[in-house]
């Protein structure tokens, strides 16, 4: 999923404090799973903002709606007849949702309520970790199912570097050395001899470096 983290309250307040009618828009998918922007978090934010404004002596209208997702036009469309009264929207969706909202509702300022962080998964309750950088040419078949591009701090394709210590990365003892994980896995799979194959220089043109990307499927286009 896309993993996000709540923006500090002070930052959100700084962005919307001049408005009189605010809509907080939660999202029912990724940000719900990583407990950053779902219905629950939206409710908490609304209550906190209401109290903030009341404390300023201002009667600001703040409402909450949680959409199924904000990255599909159909769901964003659902509020087209309800968004009028608001002069600002705080979207708790990931950066994708915020941008889809901004594209669809051009006259409404849409503010992000979370910091979108990475593509990852739930390692434990309350701990989400990065797994994928979206390079566009997945090499997991050659690395025992562990991605050195997302999990090696230097994205080495022929690692590890000389700083790997006791299975941990040189930059932080809490970060696993991705290459240690890959080596252990190759051994477990009985494919340790593959370690000595030289990984070729990567084509980064399908990564961010090649510019904003798209996926087209003509077979399903209407």
């Amino acid at each position: 999923m896309i993993v996000a983290d709540k923006k500090p309250m002070e930052e959100i307040i700084a962005e919307i404090k001049e408005y009189e009618n605010i809509l907080v828009l939660g999202c029912n998918e990724c940000v719900t799973v990583c407990e950053a922007g779902g219905k629950k978090e939206a409710g908490i934010l609304v209550s906190a903002l209401r109290m903030y404004f009341l404390n300023q002596g201002r009667d600001v209208r703040i409402d909450e709606i949680t959409l199924e997702r904000q990255c599909d036009p159909e769901y964003i469309e659902e509020i087209h007849d309800r968004i009028d009264p608001y002069d600002a929207v705080v979207s708790l969706a990931c950066g994708v949702g915020v941008q889809f909202m901004a594209e669809r509702y051009q006259e409404k300022p849409i503010y992000p309520g979370v910091n979108t962080c990475f593509m990852g998964g739930t390692q434990a309750r309350g701990l989400w970790t990065e797994r994928c950088q979206g390079c566009g040419q997945c090499i997991l078949a050659r690395t025992g199912g562990i991605c050195p591009i997302a999990r090696c701090a230097k994205r080495l394709l022929n690692g590890p570097c000389g700083g790997s210590t006791a299975g941990k990365c040189e930059i932080n003892k809490e970060i696993d050395c991705a290459w240690q994980l890959i080596i252990d896995r190759l051994k477990a799979l009985g494919r340790f001899d593959e370690y000595e194959e030289l990984a070729p220089i990567k084509d980064w043109s399908t990564d961010r470096a090649g510019g904003p990307r798209k996926v087209v499927r003509e077979d399903v286009q209407q």
């Binding site: 080495l156 022929n158 000389g162 299975g167 040189e170 930059i171 370690y195 030289l198 990984a199 220089i201």
Partner: protein, 310 residues
Amino acid sequence: MNVNTPSKLEKILKAGHLAVTSECGPPRGSDPEAITAKAEMIKDYVDAINITDNQTSMTRLCSLAACIRLKLMGLEPVLQMVTRDRNRIALQSDILGAASFDIHNILCLSGDHQSFGDCKQGQNVHDIDSMQLIQLVRLMRDQGKFIGGDEIKRPPQMFVGAAANPFADPFEIRVPRLAKKVKAGVEFIQTQCIYNLDKFELWMKMARDRGLHEKVFILAGLTPMKSAGMARYMKNRVPGMDVPDEVVKRLADTPKDKQADEGIAICVESIQRLKEVEGVSGFHIMAIEWEEKVPDIVQRAGLYPRPAAA
């Protein structure tokens, strides 16, 4: 003896001598004296001088410019190049820049992570890694081609080196890694500085078992300890460093004003022992900010005078 480049280092190694190299760290400023002064101190005692490339991610005068300084002094530089800061365009470009000044030695490295240095918030590049850089230089040299396929006018003639760390984890892949670098085309290796001689000799044995010592020249890295404090620091705070307790103890048991001398003695003794190890082709003495000791170490280790490159 067939050499692939005009490199003096290559000639000395292929002639069967034990080579001696050392390194100079460029200044955190633009004063060329900082390089030339260090080089003057050591030039008669080494065959080639490495210039580090923004070591530990601290921004310094670039390796290429400092190597050119050495070249203008008539000395033999080794251009250290990390892949952390430059993409493949810049890497090829800098290689050509070095070649235009007839710099004939390159050391291919990935580089320490930028979080260690003075620009923790910066991006890192790592467009290619150190192994791929080795392949790249060999391509440019042997086939006279850019990575994109076009021809290079006056291709670089560089003797290609890389680093090896017998002391990093996991130990079991340290020799396979050496084998990989050999496959990629590396011609000489400079190792991380050695304090645990037993472990180094084990690594050498494993390398010999695979015949790697005949395919690549291995220069044993050494750094003299200035004090027990330095020994402890390197033991505990530097990733990939193996400093045995006996070394720390030996220094700690020495009175403070004699610890530096003891550190030099340990270094010289290590060289004497490593001279006897089959497959060791030379020594890379990294006396960081202590370059004035290099002549002493080289002389006491019986490695002076240096052979003239024919």
